[in-house]
């Protein structure tokens, strides 16, 4: 076989493998889309569930998911970005820095169910928040914190050293330098990573199972100490606990579709943002 034929063959093989993954994912999305779309209607999106989810809509679950995700953002974003700024711009080689990094690695490796256990122990029971938006959001926030820190730090590191040096050499203080010449260029990247983390938070069942999610709660929460319904948990119960399998199957697909749309929406925003800013900023 000539080198050229061999090259062609192997490239086609690699292409085949890649598109196999694409097709599997495509099939998965397509399947859920096709089976979910007939269920989607205005009333499905805006009504309360009836007959324990076999009829009616998923409005409280959508709202609950949005609350939980927003809560997670409010806690995790500032904390994560501040941590990243510290690690990237301020930290020296000291023991504190090493310990923080070790902690972040550890956090990144904590399985989501363990976060659930932790949230139950700390927020629900110890702090006495009960199963509540506050407890659930905090648990999710802690879960996505390492993602936000790591990706924000990468975005900060991508800002050329020359800009910092130039600013410092002009007599700017550290914070002036970071604030005017590092953050503005790192922000898109920081948000990108964060939003990817948030997408993950929106789809997780395990951490909210024990800390916030209600299966049936026919009203919207009034305070952060209320429980909420949430899409992933709703889907989980429909898929596993409902006797009327035939009847809830369309509801399952509908819920899965809405959940995917929400997650994909977050991810797409992130991807578009990143592409947009990558094109715009050039050093």
């Amino acid at each position: 076989m000539t080198a050229m034929a061999k090259e062609k063959l192997i490239f086609n093989l690699v292409r085949g493998v890649t598109y196999f993954v694409v097709i599997v994912v495509g099939y998965l999305l397509f399947d859920i889309f096709i089976k979910g779309i007939p269920t989607i209607s205005w009333s499905f999106l805006t009504e309360l569930p009836r007959r324990s989810g076999a009829e009616g809509g998923i409005y409280p679950a959508i709202v609950g998911t949005i609350y939980l995700v927003s809560g997670a953002i409010i806690f995790a974003l500032p904390l994560g970005m501040a941590s990243a700024i510290y690690l990237s711009e301020y930290a020296s080689q000291g023991r504190l820095n090493r310990t923080i990094r070790l902690a972040i690695i550890t956090l990144a490796g904590v399985p989501s169910i363990v976060f659930g256990l932790f949230g139950l122990g700390l927020f629900v029971l110890f702090f006495g928040f009960g199963a509540s938006i506050l407890a659930g959001s905090l648990t999710l926030a802690f879960m996505i914190l390492p993602t936000i820190i790591v990706s924000s730090e990468e975005a900060l590191q991508a800002v050329p050293m020359g800009l910092r040096e130039a600013s410092l050499a002009l007599g700017a203080t550290k914070w002036q330098t970071v604030y005017t010449n590092v953050l503005p260029y790192a922000l898109p990247g920081m948000f990108t990573g964060s939003i990817l983390g948030i997408g993950r938070a929106a789809g997780e069942t395990a951490p909210i199972l024990l800390t916030v999610a209600a299966f049936f709660l026919p009203r919207l929460p009034k305070s952060i100490f209320d429980q909420v319904m949430a899409l992933p948990y709703h889907l989980y119960v429909l898929a596993t606990q409902h006797p009327d399998t035939e009847k809830v199957l369309p509801m399952q697909y509908g819920t899965a579709l809405v959940l995917i749309v929400i997650v994909v929406f977050f991810n797409l925003t992130a991807i578009i943002l990143r592409n947009h800013y990558r094109k715009k900023i050039q050093w």
Binding site: A3, M4, K6, E7, I10, F11, L13, R15, V17, T18, V21, V22, V24, V25, L28, I32, L79, A82, S83, Y90, L96, T99, I100, A103, I104, T106, L107, A108, G109, V110, P111, S112, I113, V114, G116, L117, G121, F126, F142, L145, K174, W175, G199, G203, E204, T205, L209, L210, P232, L235, Y236, A239, T240, A256, I260, V263, V264, F266, N267, L268
Partner: protein
């Protein structure tokens, strides 16, 4: 004035960064607090029993070994599956695909990373497990391999994304140098670029493994959850994450079973911690270059 403001900001930043340490300590504290009484009664060695029979009218046994082997089996299988797909996918996207293909493939793969694991588990139960059963002529499709395939599916985007970054960051100069010596693209990719990106690719695989070990919902739905020690991919296995997720809700708080579940959590944490630690170490070496 500036120095004063800088100091305040510095304090805030240090404080924020330190919360991670605090959280980790809290996690260990809370897991430990619930788990510790187990050491006195029924005793730490009970965890190394070969069976996991948490509910019994005779004798409850809380051996973690079958759960650990279950997790290890599924993780290994998933890793073996995700490596070719993840690495070849990354090579394709970074080196072979045309510009337009790239701009479609990359976001698509990234979207896959965001599909909730309940959805993937649901898909596995309804679609994948019958396929596995038929292909391999099994009596049931709920096996380790089914779980591994789903987990590989979930981890592949991580592997592709991170490996692709690693391949991308191989200096273009190597590529040019190789081509200028009369190497074709295939030779350049596999003899120069992939070796140069190898540490990053290994790190990507380790990160993927981390995700695989920690994933809960998908395995819960499709591996059959029989707590037995086996290394047969077509057997049903019970993983550590699935055990916690499934049993935590019904268990009597403060019981031995409850404590044992927290031990499962601790072991899980230790396992993922080491995998991530190795990944970081490899990544660091890579960045030194």
């Amino acid at each position: 004035m500036n120095t004063w403001r800088d100091k305040v900001i510095y304090t805030i930043l240090v404080g924020s960064a330190s919360t991670s340490i605090f959280i980790v300590l809290l996690i260990f504290f809370f897991l430990g607090k619930e788990a510790l009484p187990f050491i006195n009664d029924p005793g730490f060695s009970g965890l190394f029993n070969l069976r996991w029979i948490p509910v019994s009218f005779n004798k409850e046994i809380f051996g973690l070994i079958p759960l650990i082997t279950g997790s290890v089996l599924v993780t290994l299988l998933a890793t073996i599956l995700m490596i070719p797909f993840g690495v070849l996918g990354a090579i394709y996207i970074a080196e072979i695909a045309t510009g337009r293909e790239r701009s479609f493939l990359k976001p698509f793969i990234e979207i896959l990373a965001g599909i909730p694991s309940v959805v993937i588990g649901f898909f596995g139960l309804v679609v994948l497990s019958p396929i596995i059963k038929d292909i391999f002529g099994l009596s049931t499709g709920l096996t380790a391999i089914t779980g591994a395939i789903l987990l590989a599916l979930m981890a592949v985007p991580t592997v592709i994304t991170v490996s692709e970054d690693a391949i991308q960051s191989v200096p273009g100069a190597y590529r040019e140098a190789s081509l200028a010596l009369g190497a074709n693209r295939l030779q350049t990719i596999f003899r120069i670029i992939v070796p140069a990106a190898l540490p990053g690719i290994i790190a990507a695989i380790m990160l993927g493994m981390g995700r695989v070990i920690g994933e809960t919902m998908a395995v819960l739905m499709v591996t059959g959850n029989a707590a037995k020690i086996t290394f047969n991919p077509f057997d049903s296995v019970r993983t550590m994450t699935a055990t916690i997720a499934a049993e935590m809700g019904e268990v009597a708080f403060g019981s031995h079973h409850y404590q044992a579940l927290f031990w499962v959590g601790i072991f899980l944490l230790i396992m993922t911690f080491f995998i991530n630690l190795i990944a970081q170490q490899v990544l660091k070496k890579y960045q030194m270059r």
